[in-house]
Symmetry: C2
Subunit: 395 residues, 2 copies
């Protein structure tokens, strides 16, 4: 018998609460777990002893948390200081916490790993399990990350819908840039193509951090699409860099985060200015911002189910004695999509990144391949709506 503590970390997502609810509901079913605690704002809440009693919340609350976007415990972006693991361990020991679950991405896996090492060093029996979460989909080993499917669904829908607006009146603003998230990886930018059916459909040009951005190739491609299709929908990751490694958004950069990751937000503005100045075409941009991580109306049912699954399985693995691991999703072979869970070493997850593989991008690097559709379509849940077009037979 021992107590369980769970925390949420990093940028919130539309389904990070499904992992929380899944874990708590599983813990409530176990007779090996006594107290079920939540750390407010992740590891910061541990260090500040801001711990709440999750047994005090009703069953109905957990059902509703399952369907509520964002982090119900509060989240954090805090980089552990050298003395922090020992301090955190003190708090866990005082609360007799024997199971520590941490929902997050790369940086959060690093935090969990250090805590596991500190416990081992102190010979304190603690099972540490990380639960994957990131819209960026950039964790290694796991097939994909809960949170990505819903954000991908949002971006696919946003691209379809916003492009229809430009298609209806292309001469007004023939060029539109949609700026999407994705630290060093273009998974979300690639997802913008998931609703594309015909070559002339949006998105026409996708720019990801995996490929250096060339101003000349960009301008030539925009001109070419504008002439062929009549309008151009460009989807760009906010962190794309030029051939010298210089961020396009640098002019409008907003500093760095606690992990020294640059916070860049001027990429769309930069591309719009380029198009206006160099091509003389009217251009504007959409920047969905936090909405892409959190939209309650674009949640993928598959993503939510899997987020709950990795939460439940984290509890089961911990009860089985597993520690210092992250739960992974393993895609099963066969014609129909199915995932089972597995385990990966936290050390292999911490601070590592999985970029878009080459075979998911086409030769020009501005479109995605069939292999990407096969990979990503099952993750975004039910089929995207089909927008109808008139046959337009002349009178």
């Amino acid at each position: 018998m021992g107590n369980l503590l769970i925390g949420q970390s990093g940028g919130a997502t539309a389904v990070i609460n499904a992992s929380l609810a899944g874990a708590v509901q599983e813990a409530l079913r176990s007779d090996q777990i006594d107290g079920i605690y939540g750390a407010l704002h992740g590891i910061e809440g541990v260090l500040k002893r801001q711990i709440i009693d999750l047994r005090q919340e009703s069953d109905e609350t957990w059902s509703r948390v399952l369907a509520t976007p964002s982090a119900a415990l509060g989240s954090c972006r805090y980089k552990l200081q050298p003395e922090d693991p020992a301090r955190a361990l003190e708090v866990l020991r005082a609360l007799n916490v024997r199971y520590f679950l941490y929902i997050g991405g790369n940086d959060s896996a690093d935090t969990a790993h250090r805590l596991a090492l500190a416990a081992r060093e102190a010979d304190y029996d603690l099972r540490v399990i990380a639960i994957p979460k990131t819209i960026d989909n950039d964790l290694p080993i796991t097939d994909h990350c809960p949170g990505y499917g819903s954000a991908a669904r949002f971006i696919a829908l946003a691209t379809m819908d916003s492009a229809l607006c430009t298609e209806a009146i292309p001469h007004h603003y023939p060029v539109k840039v949609i700026e999407v998230m994705g630290r060093d990886a273009g998974w979300l930018a690639a997802a913008s193509a998931l609703g594309k059916e015909r070559p002339e459909d949006a998105p026409h040009l996708i720019y990801t951090p995996e490929r250096p951005f060339s101003r000349e190739r960009f301008l030539a491609a925009v001109r070419e699409v504008q002439q062929a299709v009549g309008y151009v929908i460009i989807v760009a990751t906010e962190t794309i860099r030029d051939e010298q490694g210089q961020s396009l958004g640098a002019a409008f950069a907003q500093g760095t985060d606690a992990f020294a990751h640059p916070l860049v937000s001027g990429t769309a503005q930069h591309l719009v200015e380029l198009v206006k100045t160099e091509l003389g075409l009217r251009a504007r941009f959409d920047k969905p911002g936090d909405l892409q991580r959190m939209s309650s109306v674009a949640v993928s049912g598959m993503d939510r189910d899997e987020a709950a699954l990795v939460g439940r399985m984290a509890v089961r693995y911990a009860l089985q004695g597993v520690s210092n691991k992250m739960v992974t999703l393993e895609r099963q072979p066969g014609p129909d999509y199915a995932c089972e869970t597995g385990l990966a070493d936290l050390e292999a997850i911490a601070n590592a990144q999985k970029l878009l593989p080459d075979h998911f991008l086409d030769a020009a690097g501005t479109g995605v391949t069939r292999a990407f559709y096969d990979y990503a379509l099952p993750l975004i849940g039910e089929a995207l709506p089909k927008h109808v077009r008139l046959n337009r037979i002349r009178a």
Copy 2:
């Protein structure tokens, strides 16, 4: 017997096609209407004789058009030149068009009005009916405009969802600006409050074009909310102006449209810079852009139904001999929301604007009143989701 011609004009919306489908379905039921034609890209299609035969489209297509965002006929933003009404009339006469329906906002009503006058002057029997459409909700006389309810629903949801993201991790970026559309009127900015339940919920500060923006009052209000709530969600119309009438977005302005309306898009960026520079707080912005007009996942069922209704009624009024009018929505007295249609002179609609009335904004001008909720909640369709929060009882 005569032919009917319909066109779509101005910025597309999520339900402008419902008006098209409603009108065509009604026309198909009438034995007084022979040809049913569509003008591609509104009045531009008339002038260029780009006219399609809508009887060639299947019944199934019209059912699907009803549920497809954007303008299936294509839209335009074209200001009539002095010789255009006579030229357009020539085209209508050649096609024996006796019913001309035009779906759009203020500028489109002006176009329809000029065409009606030209027909009268030429003694050509033409019935001209405008069908209201604008997410800006700024047409006079009508209770509200189809397109607004869905855009308002999108903005209400976006504010709820995006705010949860900031609430989860307020110390990361304590200030967020959400930039919304609305030429000279703050109807959409006001709609951001429709999901607000508690005083501490987002949005905390709403800035509309109806109130001159004061930099000093803004900074004081942001500081006050930040201290009281821990984070600040600001919703600002892209066209807000300072006390000298100067647009805040001027530094990033993108020119003017065909009607000499300024195209402004730098307001959020400007507010973010102000907060960072003057208050030293980290701030960022979401700019949903065209997505707010077009999101297929935030359509209001009520808005779609009413858009189809004004389309159907336009055909009926035309068949009754009405001309030079716009269909209006008239809210009926009584405890339950209900609208019937009415008629307004096109001249009274053309180039006029209905701003947010004073009693919909609170004393500070940065919040909305109960009267606004009573007005707007029925327009956004089914109830907004309720996001659950934990009780957070300390362990």
